[in-house]
């Protein structure tokens, strides 16, 4: 931090008049930008999933459910995530041995209906 004098402050004040706003418009326009490593909503790829249940076992809040709607031989898997319960720690991503789960930078979950918080991945 350099020492501030009256001249320096005036220069900065005039410079700031011609600056773009520091904030970005969010409501209705575009998506918020987050860090690349940010842990957003998880994504599920069922092709390699063996339904071992490790992700569900390690989930601290019980937000993730992998459901098999078919039989043991003919699997029809789907993942249901309650984003209201999820704390976005992404332990499920680390626990998955088959690398079926990944995290995205999607953080836009706001809804007025509580039921909409439960999403199928």
């Amino acid at each position: 931090m350099k020492k501030t004098g009256p001249g320096r402050i005036t220069f900065r004040a005039i410079k700031n008049l011609f600056k773009k706003p520091a904030t970005t418009s969010y409501a209705g326009k575009g998506k918020p930008c987050v860090e690349k490593k940010y842990r957003g909503r998880i994504c599920y790829d069922k092709t390699d999933c063996i339904n071992c249940g490790l992700c569900m076992r390690d989930c601290p809040t019980g937000a993730l459910k992998i459901i098999n709607e078919g039989t043991k031989e003919d699997k029809k898997l789907k993942a249901v995530l309650n984003v209201g319960h999820c704390i976005f720690c992404c332990q499920c991503v680390d626990s998955c041995m088959k690398k079926c789960l990944t995290y995205s930078q999607d953080i836009d979950f706001a809804t007025t209906n509580k039921a909409d918080l439960t999403v199928e991945l």
Partner: protein
């Protein structure tokens, strides 16, 4: 108020639980004689969350995320302590690279915690310009932490047996760039703290806790170090990569709020040196080592130097994948005992800064409390408690019987 005035002109002034000077609820009954504080009763316990009990019903990996949320500011210190405890019981050695990454994140956390404290302390004494500057600089640290871990707080770096995220050249250069610019700022803060007469006279000899009292009441962290006690777990009982990293213990002999400020500012400079050393000497290698899900039976105590002081975790395992007992002694818990003695003898106007000087973290500290009184006590179930509440309000002429509450 009249009932609070006793015969010898003493006033008991209750501050809290909700009050404007501090962010979390805590009650302080300050006995005043004029402006002088003659006695103080510290009442905490408004934020009990039952974290330790929750840990006993979940497995070790799930517990890691609960422990990380014990404190918002020193989340990494708590999760490091918990991971170290589990690793000790499992008998695994964490890769050296992971230990170095843990240290870099811990020191970045110390930087942002101390900058936050400096801002809050300056705000308490009415020096809001400094508050704005320190919080602006704290943003730089938080941005780096977001790049490293993905989050501004609760970085999720630690996992049992190592770390989850690796460092690369880009991250290293970003960290070094940030600490370089921070070093300049911290030098300026130190200059202000050493030369600004208003700041010095506002903080000098406020909230005094002598060397003997600090030892007697078990003060930890910057509070103890400001009283001349050279206690720092990173040096006295080194853990992880601190065994190889040179760390200087910063002490001060002022024994007051000014000493605590100086210790924290100098500690930030020391943290920057540690971060530089770690980045330049970071070994190559793997990040994690495999840890069994079932942890062998045993018990362990781990001590970690959190930004606020010594953080103790006790863990007992019974051989399953769920811990038998988890105990977290947050640093603020140790510093509360001396608070009464810090407040005594000071002025009422110095109470907020004296409380803020220990960097209190109420919800980290609060555990279940048992109140034992000589009066008859009664254990009530939910239904009985509800009945009691309705009857109590009836006596105040408020009828709540028509209110429908879901029975549990």
């Amino acid at each position: 108020m009249s009932e609070n005035i006793s015969n010898n002109n003493k006033i008991v002034l209750p501050i809290g639980p909700q009050h404007p000077s501090l962010d979390e609820p805590g009650r302080f009954d300050i006995t005043l004689e004029g402006e002088k504080v003659v006695n103080a009763v510290v009442g905490v316990g408004y934020n009990h969350r039952g974290l330790e009990k929750v840990c006993e019903s979940k497995n070790y990996i799930q517990d890691l995320y609960i422990i990380e949320r014990v404190c918002g500011i020193c989340s990494h210190s708590h999760s490091t302590a918990f991971c170290m405890a589990v690793e000790e019981l499992a008998g695994v050695t964490v890769p050296q690279r992971a230990e170095y990454i843990r240290v870099v994140v811990a020191e970045l956390e110390r930087l942002h915690s101390h900058l936050l404290w400096l801002g809050v302390a300056c705000h308490e004494i009415g020096f809001d310009t400094m508050f704005m500057y320190t919080w602006r600089d704290r943003e730089k640290v938080l941005d780096v932490l977001a790049t490293v871990g993905g989050n501004r707080v609760n970085y999720g770096i630690n996992t049992i047996g190592g770390v989850r995220r690796d460092f690369n050249e880009t991250i290293n250069s970003e960290i070094l760039k940030t600490v370089d610019s921070l070093e300049e700022d911290i030098k300026r803060y130190l200059e202000i703290a050493m030369t600004e007469t208003t700041l010095i006279s506002r903080l000098k000899s406020k909230g005094k806790l002598s060397h003997e009292d600090a030892l007697k009441y078990g003060a930890v962290g910057p509070v103890a170090r400001a009283a001349g006690i050279a206690i720092d777990i990173r040096v006295t009982e080194p853990y992880g990569a601190y065994k190889e990293i040179p760390v200087n213990v910063i002490t001060d002999t002022n024994e007051d709020v000014y000493g605590r400020t100086a210790v924290r500012i100098l500690e930030m400079q020391e943290s920057i040196n540690i971060i530089r050393y770690c980045i330049n000497n970071m070994p190559e290698g793997t990040l994690t080592v495999k840890v069994p899900r079932r942890i062998p039976a045993g018990e362990v105590i781990v001590r970690v130097e959190a930004p606020r002081g010594e953080d103790i975790h006790y863990l007992r395992s019974n051989g399953t994948d769920i811990p038998d007992r988890v105990r977290v002694r947050a640093p603020t818990e140790a510093n509360w005992h001396g608070m009464k003695h810090m407040l005594k003898g000071g002025n009422l106007a110095d109470v907020p800064i004296t409380i803020a000087a220990i960097d209190p973290c109420y919800s980290c500290t609060d555990r279940a409390i048992v109140i034992s009184s000589e009066k008859n006590t009664e254990v009530m179930d939910w239904r009985g408690l509800r009945r009691y509440g309705i009857d109590w309000y009836k006596k105040q002429n408020i009828d709540l019987t028509s209110l429908k509450i879901k029975e549990v």
